[in-house]
Symmetry: C2
Subunit: 226 residues, 2 copies
């Protein structure tokens, strides 16, 4: 398999192409670090953008939800979709308004969704979603029943086209602006876990599990053994 | 002006309607807390979803960028757009896989974009964007020149239709699962600022300004005096 996604007319980065990447490893890393994606689809010419959790397995993204969801019912029909994942890494504070920016990493994936109908496969995807978001959880919880699996719609979106866009580093000011007496630099931002809040109905004597007490974000990479 | 956005066929919340809201104040609060939106538009039947910063002023969202941007050039033509803003507030850890969820607040706005051509208005929008993301910054930096303003495309997206969707609180497990010996609760998540990183070319003797040293996220609400 090629190390890069083939740039297409639709994914070619027109604006600041130096920030773009089609590198497969870069795209996967950005995808694997995300908790939610923003999934775009079209109904009667109107775009809709919906946040949802997802997981990547190899060259496919999976999302899930209720069969009652308009988003999933629309996508199930096999319409073009766009999945975008964005990490905001910091505010870039330049000396001029014009050169203010953000440090970020984002991936745009284009693909056509199809429903996963095999119940064993659906079970595997739900396992992968759980592992992706909070590894260790799946081993402790009650797994989906056959009825719950039937009530869960799972969609597969193959990564047909993909590109990443990344900005890192300090501001880039106009040369004459560096003399201005203005603080400049980057204000880094990060999603941090706070102290877990126990369910009011939690049975006594059950400790917060380590994967929640010391949560370190989504699990990078996919497992081979799903 | 009505306290609520009129529910339409396109914004009616089909899935878990109890989580939905058309309340204008709720919608505004969620929008005003965001740093980036995910902007959806359609080119030749293909949806695209792009992350970008934005600001709300009254009943309009504004985004900006380079006139070279495919996104902005497409939207400038007045095509239907969808702007989605999402805050991930926590992982909801239930006793069953099926009832795992996320606490979140999201808003979906539908509207048709138009370009802002008046240079004074564009200047005002850039000021508002700066104030929204990091209040205090605008007063210190070099403001856009006439040439920079010309090189900046500003789009207005009126909030024609909008709805919010919110989940808060502990997991809701099936009654028989509460007896399972599994920790359950919420792992709260929050975007936090880290220590500001000075530009390597920063002139000596310039301290980190308080609005960056003690950053508290986007400024809530809009000013009347822009």
């Amino acid at each position: 398999m090629s190390d890069v996604y083939e740039p297409t007319e639709r994914t070619t980065i027109k604006r600041l192409p130096a920030r773009g990447s089609f590198d497969r490893k870069v795209v996967h890393e950005i995808l694997d670090e995300g908790m939610i994606c923003h999934l775009g689809f079209v109904v009667d010419g109107q775009p809709f953008v919906i946040p949802t959790i997802y997981v990547r397995i190899d060259e496919t993204l999976y999302v899930h939800g209720s069969p009652a969801s308009r988003m999933l019912r629309t996508l199930e029909q096999g319409v073009p979709a766009c999945v975008t994942v964005t990490h905001v890494d910091g505010l870039v504070l330049a000396r001029s308004a014009f050169h203010h920016s953000m440090n970020y990493r984002s991936v745009v994936v284009l693909g056509t969704a199809t429903a996963v109908s095999d119940q064993t496969k659906k079970h595997g995807v739900l396992h992968a979603l759980s592992d992706h978001l909070i590894r260790g959880r799946w081993e402790e919880i009650r797994h989906p029943s056959a009825d719950e699996l039937r009530r869960t719609l799972v969609l597969a979106i193959p990564i047909e086209e993909a590109s990443a866009k990344i900005r890192v580093g300090p501001p880039s000011d106009d040369e004459e602006d560096y003399a201005l007496p203005v603080w400049a630099g980057v204000l880094p931002l990060r999603i941090m876990p706070l102290v877990p809040i126990a369910d009011p109905r939690l049975s006594p004597g059950i400790d917060v599990p380590p994967y929640a007490a010391r949560y370190d974000g989504p699990t990078r990479g996919t497992r081979d053994d799903r």
